[in-house]
Amino acid sequence: MLKKLLVANRGEIAVRIIRAARDLGIATVAVHSAADADSLHVQIADEAVNIGPPAAKKSYLNMAAILAAAEATGADAIHPGYGFLAENAEFADAVAAAGLIFVGPSGDAIRLMGDKVSARSAAHAAGVPVVPGSAGRVAGIEEARHILIDTGFPVMIKAAAGGGGRGIRIATNLTEFEQAFPQAEAEALAAFGDGGLYMEKVVGRARHIEVQVLGDGSDAIHLCERECSLQRRRQKVWEEAPSAALSESLRDRLCASAVALARAVGYSGAGTVEYLYDDEADQFYFIEMNTRIQVEHPVTEMITGVDLVAEGLRIAGGEPLRLKQRDITPRGHAIEVRINAEDPARDFAPFPGKVGDLRLPGGPGVRFDSMLYPGYQVPPFYDSLLAKLIVHAETREAAITRLTRALSELSIEGMKTTKPLFLALAADETVRAGAVHTRWLEGWLTENASRLGGAQG
């Protein structure tokens, strides 16, 4: 078992990880920027180290400062949380090179899944359905024309070295394609110093469904799926488990494919395999694997009763997987909504305010993961996530009713938050029917913006 854990993160996830460590009797070290000296994760950890100025680049992304803090405090392990350095293979390697344990997969596994082409190849090799397209880099226009037989139109041409939506072109017919391909090649070479391209069918209307896995480096299990189709600007805002859209047989195939991939790459720790699910074609396609704990992990914890962060810490400490697949029996339905410091009435403008009176929801089936306390000044330097409200009930319908009840108990004075958005969504017929896809919320927001002028968070 680990003895002293340094948590290389901030906000609600740092609080979450420190709690799991303390539950296991592991001592904790918080690190923080100068702007986070008063934050909750600093207050509840056994020790805290200031690792630099407010800018993330100079603190939470500063590998040398984090490793120095680990050495100074005698920590034997580092948990990266999500975001910041969580999927940085170089950091995982540096932690190992310093003789410390990185809580998560190896640097090599992070690298393999971090590169879009190698991740796709690994998925394909493990028998996981991938979006029809090139098996890897496309050798040239001749090969590209051949791949079009599988993909059809519209087709996406992506730079292998691109990311975050950069270096993507979409062609809707052959003429456009013949023009776009050489242009994309030249552009990729100029922008990324690498003209490598790959191609993918454009999947139209689809749901975002992902499978939670746990691995110990040799064996792996799944903890069912989550659906996260309600997204704004590609950011998930509402996540639930299980997905109401899957048949039993499809769910089995989907989850088995995630386990096959985790095993194939010798995955260690908690990870998530993400898919697009096309309802009409009843087909799912691998998108990517996230090699870390995810924001929405609590919905899985609520339906399975497994503490994913604690299991990750046990595995990092050298224990084999304690749970077998037969130990995982999901019960009921869970929903998580992200309470962000954003004003939905003003196009989700960020709102870095000071928390006044604070009333939190409670009672059966309600969980509130947060770093808030009365008097807390929310700093403007980091992301806007303030809290995750998670509810659990026997059915999806009961969970939505419970969500409305819990939201109505929540009051964060002094702040504008996304609470009015979730009250409106919970009352929406389409959401209640679960008839959504990844682009549904953007359209709904255009039509319903005027209804989101709620009172104080």
């Binding site: 702007a35 100025p53 407010p54 800018a55 680049k57 410091a341 954003e342 403008a349 960020p350 870095p352 403007p380 330097f381 980091y382 992301d383 806007s384």
Partner: protein, 77 residues
């Protein structure tokens, strides 16, 4: 002499992206409505437009430094 104040709390940037030149070089003239920098608040970027005109801009906040709402960003003659 006039001052340009930060409309928001966050991180101040003098250029639209790291590989682009700054909106205003030291000593430049500024017209009303000119963009003089960006403020990053919770990962979203907001242009800072000047409400005053003047010459010889002098920045009091360095690139990528934290600022509070209402804090002076630059002085003009």
């Amino acid at each position: 002499m006039a001052q340009i104040l930060s409309p928001l709390p966050g991180t101040f940037y003098r250029a639209p992206s790291p590989d682009k030149p700054p909106y205003k070089a030291d000593g430049d003239a500024v017209a009303v409505g000119d963009v003089i920098g960006l403020i990053e608040v919770m990962k979203s970027f907001h242009e800072v437009t000047s409400e005053v005109a003047g010459t010889n801009i002098r920045f009091s906040v360095d690139n990528e430094e934290p600022v509070m709402a209402g804090a002076p960003l630059a002085d003009l003659d």
